[in-house]
Amino acid sequence: MTSAAASWAPTAPLAARRLRATVYAEIRAFFAEREVLEVETPILSRAGNTDPAIESFVTQDAGGPWFLRTSPEFPMKRLLVADGIAVYELGRVFRRGEAGRWHNPEFTMLEWYRPGFDDAALLDETIALAHRVAAGPGMMVPSVTRLSCDELFEGALGLADGCDASTATLNDALRSRGWYDETLDRRNAFDLLLAFAVRERSAPDELLSLHGFPPELAALARIEGGRARRFEVYAGGQELANGYDELTDAGELAARFAAENERRRRARQRQLPRDEHLLAAQAVGLPASAGVALGVDRLLAWIGGSRSLADVINFPGGRA
């Protein structure tokens, strides 16, 4: 890393800019071969992302607030309803309050949707993409471990049926390992324990995928057999991608938006206008499909063996 002391200078070296250009070309070639269409959707939206775990940047004009997108998910789903074909977008997204070694308030997201795929098929494709771009700069094809959340908890923590564990059991597991002393609600206890378990289980050059999440962590994934049909991919212990077998039911979607805003209200977070365009489109009919979002900067850091996003983002955080 060049790491010039001068604050005008990029934190990432030229090699990282070259790697980014190469990987973008590989990504576009990968999707062209598979006939997935590149699309563009708005960065500014009148509607917000109601997910309480994600905070939007907000700007303003005479017509009211504009929200900077936290992902291109909603307009991309409207394109799925309009055209019914596979699409991808490679673009910048924004999340307030996320800054650190592996977070930057603005980052590059690759998101794609596959009508007719289920979560398992899309996980295969996500791993194929990671292998394709990682193999380019002469890396070994990384091994992949596929686990359900229950299997991860069992293997890494010796905790059976982790998805169905009580709040007390999850908090006890955190406390007994010295990972967290205070008491968290079930959702956060599960989430934090999962993050630690992933770290226990992860090797630097390995891909790890998780599936079968507790239903309260479904976000916009379908729930089936008591588990959310979502998956996550980790590279060297860092979350890389997050995919859903998409919820298609418009009524259920409206209910989840409302539930998220209710959780926001209880946590004294801002209420966000739900996306009426998406609700209208889903009422027409979202095709059965799976979608995934992948953090491109983390992918580059992993391929390049970097220790921080500052090694791949030219002007992170305070230099932007």
Partner: protein, 189 residues
């Protein structure tokens, strides 16, 4: 009481945790994505030097440890305490063996050290990076052999034992790097 919000966390910051002073060695923002964000920090206990890991909810405030560093001249050891003085105020501090620790072997009267104080009490001592000490005991020197690569142990006036080149003699003054405990050079009187 002063406190720090997790978004102010960075290495070097001093925190009070479970009643002990700690310094942040590494701070990592952790946000699994489905819920609450956390700061996972590696912290070193300033009393024991033990490094532990702690996780805080992002946005939480953590009490600051009132730790500061001050240059002081080492005066003398009375058998139980090591006595130091702030040179411009003549204010004196007595540090016990726990606070002085390994620094004891490098302390020569009148040398200027850095004392770390917590709530006004001595926490630890950093000796000067380089000290000049007299050799009180070593095997006889090999005259003229200034190029040989061999070394021998030498005991210094403070009790420290360092490896010195074969040509160095008892009674000579040598310069030692206290961070590595290594001989640097002879000092011409």
């Amino acid at each position: 009481m002063a406190s720090y919000n997790t978004n102010e966390f960075r290495s070097g910051l001093r925190l009070l945790l479970d009643g002990d002073p700690y310094v942040i060695v590494e701070n990592e923002f952790v946000k699994p994505g489905k819920g609450q964000a956390f700061n996972r920090v590696r912290v070193r206990n300033l009393k024991t030097n033990r490094v532990i890991e702690k996780t805080f909810k992002s946005g939480e405030s953590v009490e600051a440890a009132d730790v500061f560093e001050q240059e002081m001249q080492y005066l003398y050891n009375d058998g139980e305490f090591w006595h130091f003085m702030v040179q411009d105020t003549f204010e004196q501090h007595a540090a016990d063996a726990t606070a002085v620790g390994d620094a004891a072997q490098w302390l020569k009267e009148e040398d200027v050290c850095t004392m770390r104080l917590w709530n006004g009490n001595p926490l630890s001592i950093d000796p000067p990076n380089f000290v000049e000490l007299t050799i009180t005991d070593t095997d006889p020197g090999v005259r003229g052999d200034t190029s040989g690569g061999g070394t021998k142990p030498a005991t210094l006036e403070t009790g420290a034992v360092v490896k010195v080149p074969l040509f160095v003699d008892q009674g000579e003054v040598i310069r030692v790097d206290t961070r590595t405990g290594e001989y640097v050079s002879r000092v011409k009187e």
